[in-house]
Symmetry: C2
Subunit: 207 residues, 2 copies
DNA sequence: GTCTATAACTCGATAGAC
DNA sequence: GTCTATCGAGTTATAGAC
């Protein structure tokens, strides 16, 4: 792995290897040996770059924090500009969430998986999930729903609860899709299913 | 722990201790030592009752399977009898799901937690979740929605997708509630929130 | 910064006495 | 069925040579 990325620092290579392994086998299921074997260094060398296994996880959380900050900034920009002129609720929705989705790199997605797997056992991950990831998602979704309510694209309703239900759905679909892909299903089928669910949810908000 | 439950076999005591620890700390986060320390026996004694750590997990899956079989049998009974005469959708729904809910013991709930935590890493748990737990839930929810559709308590819609979305919501609420309880929130508040979400979801199915 | 060597410990599991 | 004693493998982490 080190030979492939000669422009990256060893620290970065360790970081990316750790993200991949933690997301696939879990934090506790991955050993320092697994990481260093993947990178192509000895275990002891890792300690020149990180204090230990736990501090790798902390670095991962720090990275994710900076990624989510960017997404929230993009949301502020969206609020201010409000260039979306369409009257179709589904179209409006897709355009609005694009801001968030386009900022999600495969790395961010893998890190989300790590955090979700750890959040029942690790208080740091739990707090990060609730206070950063979930909070950002809620902010995006409630913002969009409020705009749509003003424009009468959706009926009057409890925005907070509706946003929660949308996020529950999205999370459920993500979990199910990951399981299905692990069981051998094609990503295309999974993507189509996701789109249909979102369309159905949004349409149901207008009688 | 052994002194408290003199009427239970050592095997059963090991089983219950394992369920509690696996659900709290995860399968990989729990050692044989953790279990035997809790039970009050030496590590070696455990091997008189189980072949190893993996076979304890298998016994837990077997137990859960028998519990879900009971719930599915109860559903068959419900289909046949059809005693629910109410015209109110929410009331009908609550009565219909009661059959399932009353069969869920705290043990079953803990085991569900274990399986959900393991399903990304362990193929047996993944298959069990998809083919037993998820399938049973879908069967219950689609059955009830179909009856409600016939009785015109809900509008015409894609029952399969609606049922999926209901289950995503329920799962999302369960996850969030577990996290909130770990963070110190009261179970009463959490229960009220759950009821309000279910009510909102069911009401939205009739224009 | 990387290496070898190794400490200090935990893991699941087994042999054999009682 | 429980115990003591122990094994071999795997774990994170450190010391010190290069």
């Amino acid at each position: 792995m080190r030979n492939i990325n000669k422009n990256l620092s060893t620290r970065d290579i360790i970081f990316y290897a750790a993200v991949e392994l933690f997301s696939q086998k879990g934090y506790h299921g991955t050993s320092i040996r697994d990481i260093t074997r993947k990178v192509g260094i000895k275990e002891s060398s890792l300690y020149n770059h990180f204090q230990g296994k736990e501090s790798i996880l902390q670095a991962i959380l720090d990275y994710q924090m900076s990624e989510f900050s960017k997404a929230v900034d993009a949301l502020e920009l969206l609020k201010a500009s409000n260039t979306n002129k369409t009257k179709d609720p589904v179209e409006f929705w897709m355009a609005g969430t694009e801001v968030f989705i386009k900022n999600i790199s495969p790395l961010t997605e893998s890190i989300s998986q790590i955090i979700i797997n750890e959040m029942f056992f690790n208080a740091d991950c739990r707090k990060f999930y609730l206070n950063v990831m979930r909070k950002s998602e809620m902010e995006l979704v409630t913002t969009l729903f409020n705009v749509m309510k003003e424009k009468e694209m959706i009926d009057d309703c409890d925005i907070e609860k509706t946003a929660s239900q949308y996020i529950y759905m999205l999370q459920g679909l993500e979990i199910e899709n990951k399981l299905k892909i692990l069981e051998g299903e094609t990503p295309e089928k999974v993507r189509k299913n996701l789109f249909e669910h979102i369309t159905m949810f949004i349409k149901r908000l207008k009688k």
